[in-house]
C-alpha cells in the first residue's frame, strides 16, 4: 500500500466519525521506483490531506516533506519538491504492518502490501 492510497482511506466502522487518518504501524517498508509525471503530482496535490501525508510519510521512514502545505507557486516551479512528493506518494510501499483507526483503535492488518479492510458483522 502506498501513501497515495493511505491518504484516501478512512475507517468505515459504523458510528465512527473521526476515522481519518489511519495511523500507520510500519513493519516492513520497501521502495519501488515509478516514473515521475509532474502533471499527475500537481493533479493529485489538490486532493491530498497534507498533514496526514506528512505524518504517514514519517511513519514509513521518510521525513523530507515540509510540515506546511506549500502554495501554488511552489507547485508550479519547484521540481525538486514535486519529486519529493512523487517519492512519498508513489514509491514507498508498506508491505507488512497495520493501519489503526484513530477513534476506536481497531487494527487493520497489512500483509503483502494489501490492507485487510473487511469489517466484522458487528462493525457494519
Amino acid at each position: 500500500m502506498r501513501l497515495i492510497t493511505h491518504n484516501m482511506l478512512s475507517c468505515n466502522i459504523k458510528g465512527v466519525t473521526n476515522g481519518f487518518p489511519l495511523r500507520i504501524e510500519a513493519g516492513n517498508v520497501i521502495k519501488k521506483e515509478v516514473d515521475f509525471n509532474p502533471d499527475f503530482i500537481r493533479h493529485m496535490f489538490a486532493k491530498l490531506e497534507w498533514k496526514a501525508l506528512v505524518e504517514g510519510a514519517r511513519s514509513m521512514g521518510y521525513a523530507e516533506l515540509p510540515e506546511d502545505s506549500p502554495d501554488a507557486a511552489v507547485l508550479e516551479s519547484d521540481e525538486s519538491f514535486l519529486k519529493k512528493l512523487h517519492h512519498a506518494l508513489l514509491e514507498l510501499h508498506l508491505e507488512e504492518g497495520a493501519l489503526v483507526c484513530p477513534e476506536t483503535g481497531r487494527k487493520f492488518p497489512v500483509n503483502k502490501g494489501i490492507p485487510n479492510m473487511l469489517l466484522h458483522e458487528d462493525e457494519v
Binding site: T5, M8, V34, G113, P115, V124
Partner: protein, 289 residues
Amino acid sequence: MANRPELLAPPEIFYDETEARKYTSSSRIVDIQAKLSERALELLALPEDGVPRFLLDIGCGSGLSGETISENGHHWLGLDISASMLNVAVEREVEGDLLLGDMGQGLGLRPGVIDGAISISAVQWLCNADKSSHEPRLRLKAFFGSLYRCLSRGARAVFQVYPENIKQRELILRQALQAGFGGGLVVDYPHSTKKRKEFLVLTCGSVQTSIQTGKNEHDEGCSEDDSSEDEESGMVSMSDRNRPKKRQKPNKEGKSREWMLRKKEQSRRKGNDVPADSKYTGRKRKSRF
C-alpha cells in the same frame, strides 16, 4: 454459461486459490476482461489532456482490468473481497494498490478523491444475500452511497454487469439513482446473445454530458430511433427529478381493483413479496366481509 458463479457460492469462497489461478490463466478470460476494461475506460470519458488520473477498480480480482488501466497511463486503486484473487494480482506485480474489502460494507474513501471508477463483472455479486445478516438492498445502498461520495465532481462510474434478470438490473439501477447518480445503460451488440455486453454508466454532479451510444454488429453506434424497446435501443437514460408533491384529495369512490393492482405493482417494484394478480384480485366480496 452453465451456472452463474454467484449462485454457487459467495465470491470470497468461489474465487479460492484454484479458481483464481484458473481464471487468470485462461487466455479467453484474460482477453475478454481486457476488451471489457478498454471499453469501460472509453465510457469513463476522462479528459484527453494527457494527465494521468486516479481511478478505482471495484472487484479488481487478479488485476486483469487494472493492467488495462495502467496500460492507459492511469494510476489505480483496486478493491476485492477474495484474498486468493488479490494474491494472484500481487504475484503478477500489478501497479495499482490493492485493498481486501467488501464493497457492500461501503468503500471507506474520503469525499471527492477518485477521478473515475470502473467495475468489470463484479457488481452483480452484491445482489445475492450470501450471509443471513446480508440484505442486498442495504449493501447496494452502502456501496452506491459511499461511491457517490468519493467521486470528484463530474467523475463517472462505469460498471460492466451480467445481470441475472431484469429485476436485478432494475434493483441495481434504482439504488444507483437513489444515491444521487444520473446516467444510463449502454448496450453493445444488443442483438447478439454471445456478444451482448451491458455497461451501466453513472454520472456524478451536475455536469451534463452525453452518454455514448452502444455498438451494434457493424461496430457503429446504434441510432436512437432504431427500436422502441428498451432492450434493443443503445441507450436508456434516466434521472431522478425532484417532483413537487401534489396534495392528495381523498378518493370518494373507494379502492377500486385498478388502484389495488397499481399498489401491488408499486410494492413489487420496491422488492416486496406480493401475491400474484389473478381474477380474484379486487373481486367484490360478500357484504359480510
